[in-house]
Symmetry: C2
Subunit: 163 residues, 2 copies
């Protein structure tokens, strides 16, 4: 059973080069800037399943010698999520994380609601459900995520106050 080929067409191409990103931006009357290219590169070179917050991305860019403003980082990351290039994840309580959106490495998250420890897992049928559902409603699919909220073994043992 070749699932990967079956799913490959589901979402828009995710192995963006500077050129393919440029083409897609131009389609909408937008521009390819050095900042956008650098940020795309960061996410493409991240280990599979690794995600970054806006703040973490800013620091990483800085250590690599790229001083891109926080405003631009927030704008770019949101833009790329809306294009389907990045996935916007709600892993922590108070801020978002972003990761590259690749059907090949499509995965989901099991999150402890108490300590936020996160486990990644794969499930081939989820993307199919997402594809079927969005098609049925005439929506253009960007991403689908199964998020499981649970209590991890360690937190099941600990007693915390309600406040």
């Amino acid at each position: 059973m070749i699932v990967i080929n079956d799913l490959n067409w589901v979402m828009s191409m995710s192995f963006y080069t500077a050129d393919s990103l440029k083409a897609e931006l131009h389609e909408r009357g937008w521009r390819l800037t050095p900042q956008r290219e650098v940020i795309l590169n960061i996410f493409q070179n991240l280990a599979a399943g690794k995600h970054l917050s806006a703040e973490e991305l800013c620091e990483l860019l800085h250590t690599e010698g790229h001083d891109i403003s926080l405003s631009t980082i927030y704008r770019t990351v949101k833009l790329m999520a809306r294009m389907g290039i990045l996935r916007e994840l709600e892993l922590a309580e108070d801020h978002k994380h972003y990761e590259i959106n690749q059907p090949y490495h499509h995965h989901h998250h099991l999150i402890c609601v108490k300590c936020n420890q996160t486990i990644e897992f794969k499930n081939e049928s989820v993307l199919k459900i997402g594809d079927k559902t969005s098609k049925k409603e005439g929506y253009h699919l960007l991403d689908c995520q199964l998020t499981i909220h649970a209590v991890c073994p360690s937190c099941q043992r600990s007693i915390v106050s309600a406040n």
Copy 2:
């Protein structure tokens, strides 16, 4: 195929009475307050699939003659989400929504990333995946949500700027 019975045991009981809520709170050394009882009631009497933001809940409480502070509302809603009584939803960009967590009416959300229009849909296999995955990792399941990010038909036609 009796799916409902199959799934019923998956998550902790959701038809809470004041007494069962009290019992579960006491188990953890917590207390049943009039505020918590009223908020539970609000969510239980909401139409199936209806969800509220903290602000909306505050207004609804007010119109019903209950003046519960915003602090308490935020605390209670988070507490109940961590107990598995409520589901915490990320439907809008900047605030959360809450709804009662009932296996019988378990559903998921298809969201337009541009206008936030949301469509609910059901899928029986998602809860099974969530149950299997959390069991495998030794986690105690509270909720699992399949969130589909997409562009709705109307927004596919409109052209917006990147900023």
